[in-house]
Symmetry: C2
């Protein structure tokens, strides 16, 4: 059974365009309509034939949809909801893919208080953005977290769940607040740390930027990938998930201070014990298929 | 011209075994002798035919060498130098591959005050260790930093340089203290940060470890690779390069505090500006062939 017959995607960046590719690849009878606020993005989307139809206005894209998925940056979710408010069919389900949920759900609720909403955040991505960054297999074997607000129609939830399964994702259900805490540690803290360290390295006097680049294979280059992610999206994430991120930062800083002390006082045993504990997590991640077992992420050593 | 005819490698882990593979692949007429303090490692090295000869004692491995390369953890360098002191031919050149140099050179000098020493640190590696982790192409198009102490015979330097070029590396010369500062930012700081964040994530009460693993594709999994590196080697690196690491940690903490403040006070502009600056470095690293241009490190999305 097809979970939906007419899906509209608003925001055709990495996630929106990947969704379009995936739905057309794995559910070819579903009609996919797309819209993006940016005329350039719409033009590219038409040129690469991303959707069955690209509309110039948000309203026109949703008039006959049975599912609308907002894939705009977190800070644009409320505006995107406002732009479809007059045209959204009463029976349509609304979904969105934001990287943090509680505050985004609340913001959309202000604009669309009665809509049936099933947010779905795919924990998948690359450091690229824009309509040409997407590909159909991005969600294969990745987790997609559904965070429907309490009291949401179970049939609506089941339909959104079915859609994501069909395009390759595994499903997890979470309360929005818990989602935000989990993502604060597995995604938001790693990003703020990576952005920080790349900034620190750029601002040194004794070590030149060219040296930092040349010798980045010692570990630094791994952080630059994450720190090359979209600035708009990440600004929005940190503003929208402030409390959980600050909580994780606090814990991180305490732990770093402890290791720093061990270095200062030459406490090799404490360092060794800490460094021995962290290997097990990597092993589990690989066992559960959440990363490549190949050394160095399978990077090419020609 | 062959830079050396009989090379001895002491310590047959990732770097030592990669060197053995590389020398035998690219300089097949050179005779390679190996030794490791561990009987198990020697046994594996013999079984996989890593070297032309594996000796049971350090002394026996160096008696007819024209180059000896110590590839043991930084904390073992002095002991390794002591173990060969009686048998090292007077005209042999001594090299070592430690990830930090100034304090290691000083330690070796205490034991072998008159040796001709040309340290060579290849900025290349994977998260794996041990004699079976090595491969011949590890050093291809990577930088190898030579840090000969002042006054070292230029011919000795040129010969070690030639060896590393023949196995694929690019050469950079540096003063040992400057080397340690450059590596503190491009390698040691990234490692201590990665070890910290993986530890922080393991110790939460509200987010389970299974959730951390499941949703690690949001960014966290990148850090777990580095934090799976060898605990002994990294304990030694932080103890041996303490001052430079503490200096970089201090700067990092200041920068992190500033971003944390911006999050707390909702200063979206400051966040956006910072996140926009850090993209350029990634671009340069890729342009200079120091990382894969493929999104997500070229990870496989089946
Ligand atoms: N990237 C990831 O790894 C990832 C993973 C999971 C979830 N997410 C979430 O998915 C959402 C989209 O992320 P993304 O990476 O796909 O972003 P992206 O590549 O930057 O694309 C977002 C697109 O939405 C457009 N847009 C902005 N405001 C709009 C509005 N009000 N109406 C219509 N279009 C609008 C943008 O146009 P302009 O460029 O002209 O502003 C842009 O084309 C975000 O909420 C993010 O948190 C991202
Ligand atoms: N891994 C990297 O990414 C990397 C990159 C560049 C440079 N380096 C440097 O290269 C050196 C080797 O690193 P690695 O990653 O190859 O280490 P590794 O895989 O842990 O191997 C080190 C080997 O040396 C042996 N060993 C220890 N003390 C010894 C002694 N006194 N005499 C003889 N053998 C001894 C060890 O045996 P046991 O296991 O029994 O102790 C082990 O087999 C280190 O100084 C490191 O800083 C490492």
């Amino acid at each position: 059974m097809m979970p939906f017959t007419r899906i509209t995607i608003i925001g055709l960046g990495l996630i929106g365009s990947s969704l379009a590719h995936a739905i057309r690849a794995y559910l070819p009878t579903v009609r996919v309509t797309g819209h993006d606020a940016s005329p350039q993005v719409r033009e590219i989307a038409r040129r690469i034939d991303l959707c069955d139809d690209i509309t110039d206005t948000a309203g026109a894209s949703v008039v006959d949809a049975d599912l609308v998925i907002l894939c705009v940056p977190p800070g644009g979710m409320k505006a995107a909801a406002m732009a479809i408010a007059d045209d959204l069919p009463a029976e349509a389900i609304l979904s969105e893919t934001a990287s943090c949920q509680a505050s985004i759900i609340a913001a959309i609720r202000e604009v669309l208080p009665d809509v049936t909403m099933v947010p779905a955040h795919p924990v998948a991505g690359t450091e690229n953005s824009g309509p040409e960054a997407g590909f159909a297999t991005l969600f294969q074997n990745r987790w997609c977290i559904l965070t429907p607000p309490e009291g949401t129609d179970p049939i609506a939830i089941a339909r959104v769940e079915e859609l994501w399964k069909r395009i390759g994702a595994n499903i997890e259900m979470m309360d929005p607040a818990h989602h935000d805490l989990v993502l604060a540690i597995t995604s938001h803290l790693p990003h703020i740390i990576a952005y920080t360290i790349v900034g620190t390295a750029s601002d040194l006097e004794d070590v030149t930027r060219s040296e930092v680049i040349k010798f980045s294979a010692g570990g630094f280059r791994d952080f630059t990938r994450i720190a090359a992610s979209d600035p708009t999206m990440w600004r929005d994430v940190f503003l929208a998930n402030k409390d959980a991120v600050l909580e994780m930062l606090q814990r991180f800083t305490e732990d770093l201070t402890q290791l720093q002390r061990a270095i200062r006082w030459g406490d090799g045993e404490a360092l060794f014990d800490h460094f021995s504990k962290t290997r097990a997590i990597r092993r589990s991640i690989i066992e559960q298929g959440q990363d490549d077992a190949a050394p160095d992420f399978g990077r090419h050593h020609e």
